[in-house]
Subunit: 301 residues, 2 copies
């Protein structure tokens, strides 16, 4: 499918793309760039990739496809470093969770004859680093491609084929649509999960052990998301701050309504609130977006 693919950043997502491409034989050569000595040492030790570089310009030279899989705040520096070494006609993509700010960066840098087509695979776990990556990470998961208006059709199709070849279902939408939808399905849930854990661990120390012991009553579900990579999430929140801020306002408004019903001991209203949310899970399961096993199919012990 490709002669050369270069992956910038080989953490959870980058290393999963690397493994998936190799598994399916989708490129003659995959090149890796990562600044972290820990990452490159791991990759060498595991012999996962034959081309591991700490020279980013060399890494992207003559590549057909360059995939940035680093936190959003590093994009500008990366793109400025590589822009003169990108091959004409090559495809430049990423895996980031917000598109708006990136579009501005690319617009200002004004890449010539490079096909900039952002991607966002809705995949990953709460873990970080290449050790946690695996070739099946994108299997049956959605990947959103958000091409700029002026994009050519052919490179969009090539990129789409790559994501499909490694198991994803692909949806094409505008960067604006992407950022709005993700603020609801991913960024607000992360804000809330981080916030609930912070609320609970801020209670007096005397309760800390109890909070841990009895977390199976609900809290533990939130701690998974609240254990995600803080650097990555800092960048997402800064880049999508307007959409997220609006979602938080809507959330607080609804929570005030719930609190009023609670303080009024209004059983009918509480029942109505708690009964209104059951259907969504069924639809998510029907759409293949979660397991249908109770308790996420958690092992019993």
């Amino acid at each position: 499918m490709f002669n050369t693919v270069s992956i910038i950043g080989c953490g959870l997502i980058g290393s999963s793309i690397l493994r998936a491409i190799q598994n399916k034989n989708l490129a003659k050569e995959v090149r890796i760039f990562d600044l972290s000595k820990e990452v490159t040492t791991y990759l060498k030790k595991e012999n996962i990739c034959s081309y591991i570089s700490t020279d980013i310009r060399q890494c992207v030279k003559n590549s057909d496809l360059i995939i940035i899989a680093t936190p959003l705040s590093s994009y500008k520096e990366i793109i400025l470093s590589i822009k003169d070494d990108l091959k004409k006609g090559s495809i430049l993509t990423d895996t980031g969770s917000v598109k708006k700010e990136v579009m501005k960066i690319i617009h200002n840098i004004n890449l010539k004859e490079i096909n900039w087509i952002p991607s966002h695979p809705i995949a990953g776990t709460e873990e970080t680093g290449p050790k946690a990556g695996h070739a099946d990470m994108f299997k049956n998961r959605w990947c959103i491609i958000s091409p700029p208006k002026e994009s050519n059709e052919q490179p969009i199709q090539i990129l789409k084929s790559l994501w499909e070849a490694i198991g994803s279902k692909v949806k094409i939408m505008t960067p604006e649509e992407h950022d709005e939808i993700l603020s609801l399905t991913s960024h607000l849930p992360h804000a809330i999960a981080y916030n609930i854990v912070r609320t609970v661990i801020n209670v007096e120390d005397k309760l800390k052990q109890e909070v841990i012991q009895y977390s199976a009553g609900g809290l533990r579900d939130f701690t998974r998301i609240a254990a995600s990579n803080p650097l990555m999430w800092r960048d997402i929140f800064i880049d999508n701050n307007e959409n997220i801020s609006k979602s938080i306002d809507n959330f607080i408004e609804k929570l005030q309504e719930l609190k009023k019903a609670l303080n009024d001991k209004n059983g009918d209203k509480l029942y109505q609130i708690f009964n209104s949310t059951k259907e969504l899970r069924k639809e998510i399961i029907k759409a293949g977006q979660d397991t249908n096993k109770p308790d996420f199919g958690r092992k019993k012990d």
Copy 2:
């Protein structure tokens, strides 16, 4: 261990207790009372229990242990119905998630020579009904026993032994401690999960399909809890409204702090917030209260 155990309400929890007691041969006879025809038909069809009654007074007569496993709002009527038929010296317990209001009811009814010792197994899933119950439901889960101050030691120890025999770890604490801790570990998380799903499904209809499709970015984790039994949760919120209301206030205060950092694009503060919550998950896993597998060990497809 017992001659006769009576279980009032044979849904997810009641039927799991039934199965666990039978599995371990802890009683010569277990009797079931349930008002729902659907439930009794299922129990008969599956031949899970030989004594299924729709006469609650008959069901508890001469029983050594009576377990109420129904929504909190039904307790008063149940206890008033059975109080004259309870055997002297028998143990009366429950499985409810709030203790304060129940203590008041029992105090007002003034049961004589009955050992009222409330229990709360921290177990269950988002499912309801006897079909979803199973004998291992309480294995390695905590059960909190909250005896009134005047309780005798012997019946507390008998009840503790029962929960331990069906796999639970038992902790004894006051009803006040119980209600405060559970408001943090279970009731606040449920309020928040219901609320986030309600916030998201209230966005314009045009986004509904997208919200479902891309829910794997975080939202789906919350939809599990928000699919729990609305009647049960209505009762919990009414009975523990003061503690929950206080938790919601603390939650909103923290969320306003997060929103300020977001609006100010204060990267350092956001990083500090997102980095402060990582440890709790590790401690929960270390305490054996959740799986250590990424993504809850969800199946890939």
